[in-house]
Structure formats: structure tokens, C-alpha cells
Subunit: 470 residues, 2 copies
């Protein structure tokens, strides 16, 4: 029944408006105030899901969902999640879940090799590196920040946390600032280095160098650089090679590469260059749940230096002691992450890799990029519009452009509201360098060229209406 339900959901998904049309508070009024004392028949529950839950869903898997970044599902990913839930394994250490632990090390090596990551990031490499699967990039960044923080404080003294400074760009995801605050970095010591349109909002190594020098001059201690491959607003690509050089020369910082969205594309040889220089970084993460079909959640983190993480995050309570851990020959993933308990996430990633194969996965990504290219050409072909920054990957940032005044932003905000109000497509917006733009992110698994064409029609219709003052 449940399988049929999901199968039907995907069959009918195009009939739903992409985004829910309901108002805040709609559900509380529809449900009883308390849990039932008696068991309820499953048919009744399913009816409520169809009648009360589905209408309140923003359909992320809808082929006309072009908002945010994608969160791509697949049969393999969904069934992998189902299998993991069914097996009900808790993988905090090797002994509690040998197969889950070992599959994760194997799959992270497979995936790392597909991305052509340096072998220093892999278990099969000669060094101490390796990979781990977490829920989200926020967790991954927090983990490596804690490792870097403790490594630095061991050198300069535990009481000096107030002197540590972390660096990113003004385009870096807000997860970084949040993680920095969580681990105790002074809010005033988080440097979001300014970017601009001339470099497509990429972080400039020279600007970074200036920022570091200014901090060092007043006695602060550079700790950490978060570089991004595919920023959220415009998919900017920070240049890893020169940034890593600056970070190492000035203060020996830990460099983390947040490739949450853009990383997946690196399995295609033609996109791999965006992470050239990654060998100079300490850690690298991407979200396989964004553009790699695993369903939420599946953040893959590789690092050259798991030992730094383990030094910060290891726990060894008596009730978890066991022979395998004591042998030192196993991976206990609880020491690589914030949490103790962990799901068997490698299963779904393994299923995705095997049931699609590297070749098809590349074609899947290229298909999205080709659709985004097509959309970009449509935008460029209509003189009322402009592409704000050169497209990379499968996101097109565009806007209407009828004059050069400040009115553009307001007009484009209105355009987005009208587009989304149609219920036929969903896009979101960004502001970079003061420019309000619409984001058209191709990436839903079911999206086909016809959905892109239809989206463009919706954009044009709404632009027409705005021009005509309707």
C-alpha cells in the first residue's frame, strides 16, 4: 500500500501545484488535539496523508521545482533508505555494525575516486585519510572546525579561543557562520571577505591575504578558511589553488572545501577542474542528497586528517568498550562526527552508485547542465532579460532589465512572486552585489527539457503582464 502510494505520488506529481497554496496553521485545525488512545486503521491514516499532508507539501520532487538547490531522489535512494530503516542497525562503532561501517569506508573510497580526489583523502591511500557520511554540511563544517580549533588551541593555549579568526566570503553559506558561533568563535572574528560581480562573486586570494594580514597585525590568530565550490546564491567557484596557498602561508590555516552542490559535478572529467588545487585543502564535503540522487540526508566528508577530528571528538566510555575498538584496526565512526548514533546511510549511496553506474550518473548531471544551458540561451535571446553571472553547473541567475535604476530589484521581486503564484513552477531568488536575481536551479530527477520550456513560458507571460502593467 505504501509502495503504491509513493508510486502514485510520482505518477500524479505534475498535477499538484509545485508549492503548497495553504496558509500557516492549516494543519492544526484539521487534526485532533491529542493522540488517539486506540489504534487507527492504516487506511484512515493514509487517507489523512493524501487529504491533509500532500496539499501542504512544497513538492521538491516535482519536475518544475527549480527553487533553492535540488534534493534529488531516486528509486535506489528511496529504497536504500527503506532498507536501512528495515535493518534497523545503529552504527556508532564497528562492533555495533560491522557491515555498515565497512560499507561506508568502501563506498567513500569509490566516490572519492570518482571525484578524482587526492589519494590522501581516501582510506586506500598511503596516508591516514578517509571519508565519512553525515547528515548535512552544517555537521561536516562543525566537525572540522572543532578539529582545527583544538589543534590550534593546543599550540597557543586553551584560553586563547577569543583570538581565533575564521575566513570565508560574503557568498559562503550561512551554515559556516552558524557553525563558527556554535564552536565558540567570537562573532566579531568571522571574516566574510567581500566579493564582487567582476569575479563572479568568487573569493579573491588577494582580498583574503589582506584580511589575514590585518588580523595578524592586531594579534589575532588565523584559524580556518571555508572555500566554496558552487555558492548558494550564484554557484561561484572559489579558486582553491591560490586560496590554499594563501591560507597555508599566512597562519597555517585549516582549509575546508564546501562543495555541497557543485562537488557532484566533479565526477564528469569536463567539470573536475573546478576543484583543481583541492590537494592543498584539509577537508572536502559535498551533499549527495543535493544532486546525487540519494534523498536527504547524505553529506559526504573526506579529510586528510581524521586523526585531528578523532582527537577532538573521541569518547571512550566503559559501556562502549569492545575488543575490535581496542585492537585499533577498525573505524569507529562515532569519533568522526558530533553524534553517537548514526544511520546506515552508506547503503543508499552504494545502491545509487551500483544501480546507476558511473556512466549514467555522469549523463544524469550533464543532462541537467544541458537544460540549464538551454534556459540560459532562452534568457539571452530575450532582450528584456539578462543573465546576471555566467552560468556554471545547472543554475541560471537572471533578471528583467528594463532600466538601470534601483527599480529593477523591486520589479524582479514582483516577477518572482507572480511566477511562483502561478503554482506551475517554483524558483527562488538571491541578492549578490546588491543585485536581486531569480535563481533557476535545474536538478529534480524528473525534470525534462519540456519542463524547462514551460518554465520559460511562465516567466515570459509574467514579464509580459508586468510590462503591460497588468
Amino acid at each position: 500500500m505504501f509502495v503504491d502510494f509513493i508510486a502514485d505520488y510520482y505518477t500524479n506529481i505534475e498535477q499538484y501545484p509545485v508549492t503548497s497554496q495553504l496558509k500557516p496553521g492549516y494543519l492544526r485545525d484539521l487534526l485532533p488535539p491529542s493522540a488517539p488512545f486506540e489504534a487507527e486503521p492504516i487506511e484512515e491514516i493514509m487517507r489523512d496523508i493524501q487529504n491533509h499532508i500532500i496539499p501542504g507539501i512544497t513538492h521538491w520532487q516535482h519536475p518544475s521545482h527549480f527553487a533553492y538547490f535540488p534534493c534529488s531522489a531516486s528509486t535506489a535512494g528511496i529504497l536504500g533508505e527503506f532498507l536501512a530503516a528495515g535493518l534497523g542497525v545503529v552504527g556508532f562503532n564497528w562492533a555495533a555494525a560491522p557491515a555498515a561501517t565497512e560499507l561506508e569506508t568502501v563506498v567513500m573510497d569509490w566516490f572519492g575516486e570518482m571525484l578524482n580526489l587526492p589519494r590522501t583523502f581516501l582510506f586506500s591511500g598511503e596516508a591516514a585519510g578517509g571519508g565519512v557520511i553525515m547528515g548535512t554540511t552544517c555537521e561536516a563544517i562543525t566537525v572540522v572546525l572543532v578539529a582545527a580549533r583544538d589543534q590550534k588551541l593546543d599550540k597557543i593555549g586553551r584560553g586563547e579561543i577569543g583570538k581565533l579568526v575564521v575566513y570565508c566570503s560574503d557568498q559562503t553559506h550561512c551554515a559556516f557562520e552558524k557553525a563558527a558561533k556554535v564552536v565558540g568563535i567570537q562573532p566579531g572574528n568571522i571574516r566574510a571577505v567581500e566579493t564582487n560581480k567582476t569575479t563572479s562573486f568568487a573569493l579573491s586570494p588577494d582580498s583574503l591575504k589582506s584580511a589575514i594580514r590585518a588580523d595578524v597585525a592586531v594579534g589575532l590568530v588565523p584559524l580556518f578558511l571555508c572555500a566554496t565550490i558552487g555558492t548558494t546564491s550564484t554557484t561561484a567557484v572559489d579558486p582553491l589553488e591560490p586560496l590554499c596557498r594563501v591560507a597555508k602561508e599566512h597562519g597555517g590555516m585549516w582549509v575546508h572545501v564546501d562543495a555541497a552542490y557543485g562537488g557532484s559535478a566533479c565526477i564528469c572529467p569536463e567539470f573536475r577542474h573546478v576543484i583543481d588545487g583541492v590537494e592543498g585543502a584539509n577537508s572536502f564535503s559535498l551533499n549527495a542528497h543535493k544532486w546525487f540522487l540519494t534523498t536527504l540526508d547524505c553529506c559526504c566528508l573526506w579529510t586528510k586528517d581524521p586523526n585531528a577530528i578523532k582527537k577532538s571528538l573521541s569518547t571512550n566510555p566503559e559501556y562502549l568498550k569492545n575488543r575490535a575498538s581496542e585492537s585499533g584496526h577498525v573505524v569507529d565512526y562515532k569519533d568522526w562526527q558530533l553524534t553517537l548514533s548514526r544511520r546506515f546511510r552508506s547503503l543508499k549511496l552504494w545502491l545509487v552508485l551500483r544501480s546507476h553506474g558511473v556512466g549514467n550518473l555522469r549523463e544524469f548531471l550533464r543532462g541537467h547542465v544541458a537544460m540549464a544551458e538551454a534556459f540560459e540561451r532562452l534568457v539571452e535571446g530575450d532582450e528584456r532579460f539578462e543573465v546576471v553571472v555566467p552560468r556554471r553547473f545547472s543554475l541560471v541567475c537572471f533578471r528583467m532589465n528594463d532600466d538601470d535604476g534601483g527599480g529593477n530589484n523591486l520589479m524582479n521581486k514582483k516577477l518572482l512572486e507572480r511566477i511562483n503564484g502561478s503554482g506551475r513552477v517554483l524558483m527562488t531568488h538571491a541578492v549578490a552585489g546588491g543585485i536581486y536575481m531569480l535563481r533557476f536551479a535545474v536538478g529534480a530527477t524528473l525534470t525534462e527539457p519540456k519542463h524547462v520550456m514551460e518554465a520559460w513560458k511562465v516567466v515570459q507571460q509574467q514579464a509580459d503582464a508586468i510590462m503591460q502593467g497588468v
Copy 2:
């Protein structure tokens, strides 16, 4: 095929040894070194799961799994996870997932009411309280620690983080120490107050008071108390009412109640007294994935003061701005937690509550307690054994007791190894007050009285063999 696979798994589960018999590294040798380029047929992948993954599993859902704490699965929980993966919704804020957000607020109120939590912890209460679902207790504790930390530093100055002290008992889960270190508490400022067997390893309010006074006397600042309802080693219950009083009178600390395992039992009126005094705490969490059938992961956190959490963890980047959030009338759960992206976890909790009903859920918990009581009587009836601490809930802590010397610990360690070596049951151990004990934790969904009887037989057989020097 996948549904059949899981159905078969549960049909055959008793034929598997509870714990994997394989050696570290077994899987890497069985799998190819790289991901396949071509897609592989699903039948082949399933065959590998059966042949290579299943034998490497420690079967947490096996009815003879009495190790750690349970991680109880159910049809409703597994299918809820499947549905959530199938719908593929990302619920960072209301606008991105109205139904997921609203269902979570409703279900957390339902569950809170079942536990008879003070109305100040609920959305439907008159105050600002409410509940949120996270992955694990580690996340929940980190979140409330950050909120408490920032609230205190706002008063005493951001630079004073080195003065903050947090309190727990020497029985508190290691997750607390880890979380405290992550948020920047000096490792030397984590007070694990000593407990002893005379109070069944519960935290003494007088000992807490002494510890606080000593810290205040040297200029340190009390920040946080983590009390536990059902400690991992022995299910000790810290007395909330007097502990909250001490915590408030001495330094106005934030009190968090970690009821990860024991909390679920509070839906039964006869167990509710273990959280008497919870109205004096600031926050309360339990893991529905432990003893409440949801499958991993589902940590439920309620707090009187979400505003403190939001003050610390809110982010408001342009690319997530939307009308609903700006109205101030919706819950944006991204600001209640460490991570941005979040799964639709309320769905499985809702399915569990409805498809079982409160009455059956109480009976489910009582059944486990009754089986643990039966095991306790068996232990007590054999003069070679002792129950180390009075049983609460469904964990029995016991050991062999043939002399009063230090040899007991070694003998019991050997006993546990022999029991688990049989492959017929799995238990784990703890050490409290220097006493090594075996932990018999009833809680797997499929466990019946016959499995408890069989487990006792295994214990007796191995004890016989040890006594006979075999």
C-alpha cells in the same frame, strides 16, 4: 522486491547469530575496488546485500538483542521513513515544507501531552514553549548548551567563556562531555559529580551544591546542569525536583533533562513519577528511536524557551527570505537546530502514534518491563548471581558473585564474552562504582518471554562452565 526482502529478513531473523561473526576488513575484500561504470541489475545488488551485508550485521532487531539500549523498529516506523524518503521534502523552514513543519508541531504537542509534560513545554501552552525533532540526543544537548552559553555570555561578557562551568554526574552519557567541548567549554570546567551505589548512582543534590559552591568561590560561573532519567550504565534516575532547585538557587543554571531511554516510559502513569519536578527544567529530550518504535533517528526535544535557542541559532540569508517567515507567524525549524536541512521525521512518529494508539504503546512498554522483571527474578533466584542495582524500566544489571574479591570483575567479563560468543544472545556491560556488571536490556520489538528465558539459559550454561573451569 525490497519489501519482500525486509519481510523475509524479519521472518528469518532468529536464524542469524545476533552478532556478526566476521573479522574487521572482511567486506573490502569482497567488493570491487571501484564503482561500476555500467548500471548493475538490482537482483545482483540484492544478492550482494544478502551474501555480504547481512552476515556483517549485528542484528539490533533480533529478539535476542539485549545489548546497549534498544533501537526499536516497527512497521509504522519503517514505512514512515520510506514515505518521508519518497516524498523527498526538505523542511528547513515553513515555506519549504508547510506540512512537515506543521505536523511536527502537532505531533510534538501530542507526544508531550502523553508524557504529561508541563504545558509550558508545548506549542499549545500559554507560554512560548514547543518541541522539535532532531537526529540524536547529542544534537539536542549541543543546541541547548549553545543557547544557555550565549544567554550567559550576554550577561557576563563574550570574552568570559573560559569561566563557564557545566555539571553532570559521573554516570551522564559521554555525549554531554562531547557537546560541552564542542561548544567551547574548557575541558577542565566539566564537572562530573561522583555518584555511588547507595543512591543507585543517581546524582545527589547535596553533592551538586558543594561542587557549585567550590566553583563559585574561585570565580567560575555555573552555566548548565544535565540531569539524566535512565542513565546508560544502570538506568539511574537523577532527582529532578531538588536538582532543579539547587541549579536555580546557585547561579540560575539552564537545566536539561536527558531522558533518552527512560523518557518513553513516562507515557505510562505508573512511571511518570520519574520526571516529577521537570517543570523546573528548561528543556527535556528523549529518543523515540530507542524505546518508541520510530527507527533511527528521532530525538524529541521540548523546551520552555525556544527563543533562547533561536537567538543563538537563527540565520536569515537573503536566499531563504520569504513572506511566511517575515510574518512571524510560522515555525522555521532551521533556527531550532544545528543543521539547515532536515528530514520529514514527524511523519514516522505520527504513524507510530496513530497506528498503535496510546493504549497499545503503554502495553508495549509494560511488556518489556514485565520481561525485565521476570529476568530479574531469575537472577535473584540463583544464588551465584546478584542484581547490582534495583531494576527500573527494562534494564537488569547483574553479575556473578562467587567471592568478594577483585576477581569478580574479571570473571564477569569472561562470562559476558562467553555469552556473546554463543551467538545466541547479545548483551553488553557497564562499570559503575568499580563494579563490572552485565546489562540485560529488554526492548527489541520482537522480544517475547521465551527469548528472555532462553537468554537466562545461556547465562546459566556459561556460568556453569566457568564454575567448572571449562
